[in-house]
């Protein structure tokens, strides 16, 4: 039988170029809106949000209380369904996935840091950090969790339960947990909201150092303008819509 060879329609360089472009965008939000039905009619929380985030960059989402920051973060991380529009995270269209599939996406690509730490109270610091790796079914998880806790300066508190740690220590555990499985993107929701200034500064430094080292994309939702100023780009939300989306340098100038 004669072998018919398919004609090569694209040059290799083109493909590489395409991939590069795709790889460069880790998060792509398109026409996103979120509404709720309430007894007083329909409540719009987010309205027609569009933006994309380059891989490895840092971004702050700022805005007053009730502007929809946290809802936006929840949607971007696949914690909730959008009413309309789409979220593409690391090339995966989240709205096409069911709850379980989105959970796996989070486990594979996403890290979280919360305002109130959200450590599992029945697990020790070490076990809390191990969970994301264990969920993936990876081996040698203890050593890697241990290593990260060493990095955040808690190498001597491995077997303490969250209730035995201070707020700053708990947030450090939570940072270790967020980085341990080397996520592509990390969402931080007011990471210093529950901490004093001195601890906050230490936590921010730790967060950016680790981020720099791992090359993770970092999305921070915050009130704290100092913290926002440390990122490369700031998106301002008001009343559920984007009112500004600028590079930090531009804003500073």
């Amino acid at each position: 039988m004669p072998v018919v060879q398919k004609p090569v329609t694209k040059k290799l360089t083109d493909i590489l170029e395409e991939e590069k472009i795709i790889e460069m965008t880790i998060l792509n939000v398109h026409n996103l809106s979120k509404t709720f039905k309430t007894s007083n009619g329909i409540l719009t929380i987010l309205h027609d949000i569009n933006f994309s985030v380059e891989a490895g960059s840092t971004l702050a989402i700022v805005g007053p209380s009730g502007s929809g920051k946290t809802t936006l973060l929840g949607l971007c991380a696949g914690l909730d369904n959008a009413s309309t529009g789409s979220v593409e995270l690391n090339n995966v269209r989240l709205e096409k996935l069911n709850e379980d599939e989105r959970a796996q996406v989070r486990n594979r690509y996403v890290g979280f840091i919360f305002q109130n730490f959200q450590l599992l109270p029945t697990l020790t610091a070490l076990e809390n950090v191990m969970v994301p790796l264990e969920l993936r079914g990876e081996k040698n998880v203890r050593a890697r969790a241990h290593e990260l806790l060493d990095k955040v300066g808690l190498g001597d508190r491995l077997h303490h339960y969250p209730s035995q740690l201070s707020g700053g220590e708990q947030q450090r555990v939570s940072i270790a947990r967020a980085f341990v499985h080397q996520p592509r993107i990390l969402f931080a929701d007011e990471p210093t909201g529950n901490l004093d200034e001195e601890t906050s500064n230490k936590i921010i430094k730790l967060l950016f150092d680790l981020n720099h080292e791992a090359g993770t994309t970092l999305v921070i939702v915050t009130h704290n303008l100092d913290l926002a100023a440390d990122t490369k780009r700031i998106i301002k939300l008001r009343g559920g819509a984007i009112v500004a989306d600028e590079k930090t340098e531009v804003l500073k100038n």
Binding site: E23, L79, V105, P121, S163
Partner: protein, 853 residues
């Protein structure tokens, strides 16, 4: 960065799930202990009862031959006819014969008299097992001489010794030995008339073989071990039945004994099941609260990438594991309890009960424990699947759908089927099982409704002008995180189950004591021959004793009903009449008036019969007429000791059987049975034990054939028996009561965890100890009182239904008990609630928050 396509792979990672379940368990062990403790006792009770039931079955199998004492027993209530005698004499390799009857025994040494069961024995019976005697040789010796074996309790009662003399009828016997045990008899079966064995050849000489008295003849056979008794029996069965002889083999006896005990174990299993049901409530409520508090952790896990099934399975594994642990502890306790039970049961059983651990029962207990934890834990657990990871943010989450999860409905249905199936396995009828199960579910619904109503009422009519403490206490009943529903349902259902148990027990106990109290007759003389009638009456009067009743008794059988005899009824498939009525013996009397315990419900009492052409109108007791399927105007032909008497059913009566006096199912008019072979019964009331002893001696000396039942003695024996039965019931019921208490403590205790933050906050704001305790007391008092009141109402309804339809007894509300149960449960709730809050009050607020939350 390498390019990677996202492909969803569903993996459960069971090992990790188990690890997570363990991690969660180790930090919450004290709280999960509540859940464990609610099932331990139920499982313990059931494992113990199952084990005893199992052992009884096995012991009966092993001891079956000694239970019967022979390979075959043929029994008759009258002298066997000459036609069948050759057959009886041809069976077996060894034969024994026994004639037994009730008679008075007279202890010559101290003039004691007592009704006994005289067993005149010929041959070497028992062939298996022994008549256990002291001295051992007496078992053989008494057969050779004019000697007797006397029951141990009788010897003790009359302080008699081996070698003393007793008089039975007109003959004196020397006591050869004390009879400790005989095949197939229990302490209960011999309590009223203890046995005395004499050699058969002296039977005639006692002069007690009078016509009209009740004799029982038993023929014992031993076959060679190679002979199949059933095969021998098969061809002669119909012959024996025709001659009105009953037969009993090792196999049939085994079945009968097993059946009797099966009923008892089934009843006890049901009581034990109540403990388990209460435990189920404990399981469901503790898991419910536990999972509620885990919402946040579950949301975090989902955020980190755990899927719904994984989150659900972590807690399912945890609950099942803890359930298994509870079941193991329960089963172990059950084995311990089982060691005690034989002592409790020994008076009911004709066998030596072993205490071998029945692994099947242990297995059943373990499975039951796990199943219950699973089923009742599943209800709160399935909500885990629906917990959104968004719960960790304080942002609006779409309100949960109001429609109940279909899975939840499915679990309710499975629970219903589970309960119904378990009850069916115990009582044997689907109808009963389903009505009991429906009852439990209705109780559950009523309590839910009551709780809902309480919340609504408090909310609607909130006492806004009352002091802060009252308002806060009241508000706790309906505010978010309120305990109203769960506590009202748990405490209420517990109260209802315990209430039913208690009320039914008192109905049964009342029924017995009713008949033994007051100015009731307490001595019955029977087997009085017609010619002795006047002399006995005179003797009674000499002792200044009242003749309360003096009735003739004639033994009759039924020959035909509406022209059909036994054969015709058997072959007539349309006939509703039971063929059994032709096989029964009836003891009837004749009179023209009703007694105080009778009431005419239909027709008229028959007129005295003056000429042979008069129609003889008989009167039947209602229930009996129903059983015989006869109505007024039907004809019944009686066989009166060989003579056929044609009668017409003239009236129906209602008889109060609970009165102590002679009551009859069938009454003839006067003028018919006067000349038939008969004996008389005389009923009197004896003022004291001393008069009783003297009167009995006088009667026995003058009329050795007359038997006397001292009802005082019978009642004390009966009391003893009932006390023992009551003890067994209470023993098992105690498991339910204690479980109820544990569940109450558990429900109040888990509510503590929900109130902690608030209490600490109030404390931080400066609330005094007294204020916090008052708020707690007010809240728990209302919860406890409402739950107890609803539970009591339900239990009264349940008891009334049971009394009316199951026990046929009158149910009057035991007000004192109701009030005591109400007050004690309300206060118990308050006290447990207060003890709970104390642990919070005695520590610094921050310390509490760190430790408990």
């Amino acid at each position: 960065m390498d390019r990677e396509r996202f492909v969803y792979k569903k993996k459960l990672r069971l090992r990790w799930l188990m690890k997570m379940a363990w991690r969660d368990t180790r930090r919450n062990f004290s709280r999960l202990a509540l859940f464990i403790s609610s099932i331990i006792l139920g499982i313990a009770a059931l494992v113990a009862i199952f084990s005893v039931g199992d052992n009884v079955q096995r012991d009966i199998d092993e001891q079956a031959k000694t239970l019967t004492g022979a390979d075959l027993i043929i029994q008759s209530n009258k002298q066997v006819s000459d036609s069948i005698r050759p057959l009886l004499d041809s069976l077996g390799q060894k034969r024994s014969k026994e004639c037994s009857f009730a008679s008075m025994v007279y202890f010559k040494k101290n003039n004691g008299t007592r009704l006994v069961q005289v067993c005149a024995l010929e041959g070497d019976y028992p062939y298996y097992g022994d008549l256990e005697t002291t001295p051992v040789s007496a078992e053989k010796e008494f057969r050779k001489n004019q000697q007797a074996l006397v029951d141990r309790t009788l010897m003790l009662q009359y302080n008699a010794h081996v070698g003393d003399s007793i008089q039975i009828g007109e003959l004196t016997f020397q006591i050869a030995g004390i009879l400790n045990k005989e095949p197939g008899r229990t302490n209960f079966s011999t309590a009223v008339a203890p046995p005395v064995y004499i050699p058969y050849r002296y039977l005639d000489a006692t002069g007690l073989l009078k016509k009209g008295s009740r004799f029982s003849y038993r023929y014992y056979y031993k076959f060679d071990s190679t002979v199949d008794v059933e095969k021998v029996l098969a061809p002669i069965k119909s012959k024996l039945e025709k001659a009105e002889l009953r037969y009993e083999t090792v196999a049939s006896n085994k079945k009968d004994t097993g059946r009797t005990f099966e009923d008892l174990t089934k009843f006890l299993t049901l009581i034990g099941f109540i403990a388990l049901l209460l435990g189920c409530i404990g399981v469901a409520s503790s898991i419910h609260v536990y999972i509620k508090e885990k919402f946040n952790s579950i949301a975090v896990l989902k955020c980190l990438g755990a899927n719904g099934s994984q989150a659900f399975l972590i807690y399912l594994i945890e609950v099942t594991g803890i359930g298994l642990l509870g079941a193991v502890i329960g089963a172990a306790s059950g084995i311990a309890v089982q060691q005690i039970l034989p002592a409790v049961f020994k008076d009911f059983l004709p066998i030596e009960l072993s205490t071998t651990v029945s692994w099947i029962s242990v297995g059943k207990g373990l499975i039951l424990g796990m199943l219950i934890s699973l089923l009742f834990g599943l209800l709160p657990l399935i909500s885990i699947r629906k917990i959104s990871p968004l719960n960790i943010f304080r942002i609006p989450v779409e309100p949960a759908s109001k429609i109940i999860d279909p899975l939840k409905w499915m679990i309710y249905v499975i629970i219903f089927i589970f309960i119904a199936t378990f009850i069916k396995a115990q009582v044997g009828y689907w109808n009963t099982a389903i009505s009991y199960t429906v009852g439990i579910f209705v109780a559950f619904l009523v309590l839910t409704l009551a709780a809902w109503l309480l919340r609504w009422l408090v909310h609607r009519f909130f006492p806004a002008t009352w002091s802060y403490l009252w308002r806060q206490g009241f508000a706790n009943l309906y505010r978010p995180n309120n305990q109203t529903l769960i506590l009202v349902v748990t405490i209420g259902l517990g109260t209802a189950l315990i209430g039913v148990l208690y009320f039914i027990q008192s109905i049964l106990v009342n029924r017995i004591t009713l008949s033994s109290s007051g100015d009731q007759p307490n001595m019955v003389l029977f087997d009085i021959q017609p010619k002795q009638q006047n002399e006995v009456a005179d003797l009674t009067k000499q002792f200044h004793l009242p003749i309360l009743q003096e009735v003739p008794i004639v033994t009759v059988r039924i020959e035909e009903v509406n022209g059909k005899n036994e054969e015709q009824v058997k072959h007539d498939t349309a006939a509703k009449i039971s063929p059994y009525i032709f096989q029964s013996e009836f003891r009837v009397t004749y009179r023209d008036t009703l007694t105080s315990s009778e009431e005419l419900t239909e027709g008229k009492l028959g007129k005295p019969v003056r000429s042979p052409n008069d129609v003889i109108y008989v009167s039947l007791e209602e229930g009996n007429a129903n059983w015989m399927h006869v109505k007024i105007g039907d004809t019944i032909v009686f066989n009166v000791q060989g003579m056929l008497v044609r009668t017409v059913l003239g009236s129906l009566r209602k008889v109060d059987w609970q009165r102590i006096q002679t009551n009859f199912r069938i009454i003839f008019p006067t003028g018919v049975l006067e000349d038939a072979p008969q004996f008389h019964v005389l009923i009197t009331r004896i003022p004291s034990a001393e008069v009783s002893a003297k009167f009995q001696q006088a009667v026995v000396r003058q009329f050795p054939n007359i038997s006397i039942i001292d009802l005082g003695l019978v009642l004390s024996v009966l009391n003893d028996i009932l006390g023992k039965i009551g003890f067994v019931i209470r023993f098992i019921a105690a498991f339910s009561m204690i479980t109820g208490l544990i569940v109450l403590i558990a429900s109040v205790l888990i509510s503590k965890y929900q109130r902690i933050q608030e209490t600490v906050l109030l404390r931080t704001l400066g609330a005094s100890r007294k204020q916090i305790l008052s708020i707690t007391a007010i809240e728990y008092f209302f919860l406890g009182a409402l739950a107890a009141a609803t539970g009591i109402l339900l239990s009264l309804l349940g008891s009334w239904l049971l009394a009316k339809f199951t026990f046929n007894a009158l149910f009057t509300i035991p007000w004192v008990a109701v009030i005591i149960i109400f007050i004690s449960l309300s206060f118990l709730t308050v006290i447990i609630g207060l003890i709970n809050s104390r642990s919070i009050l005695n520590k610094a607020p921050l310390e509490v928050l760190r430790k408990e939350v």
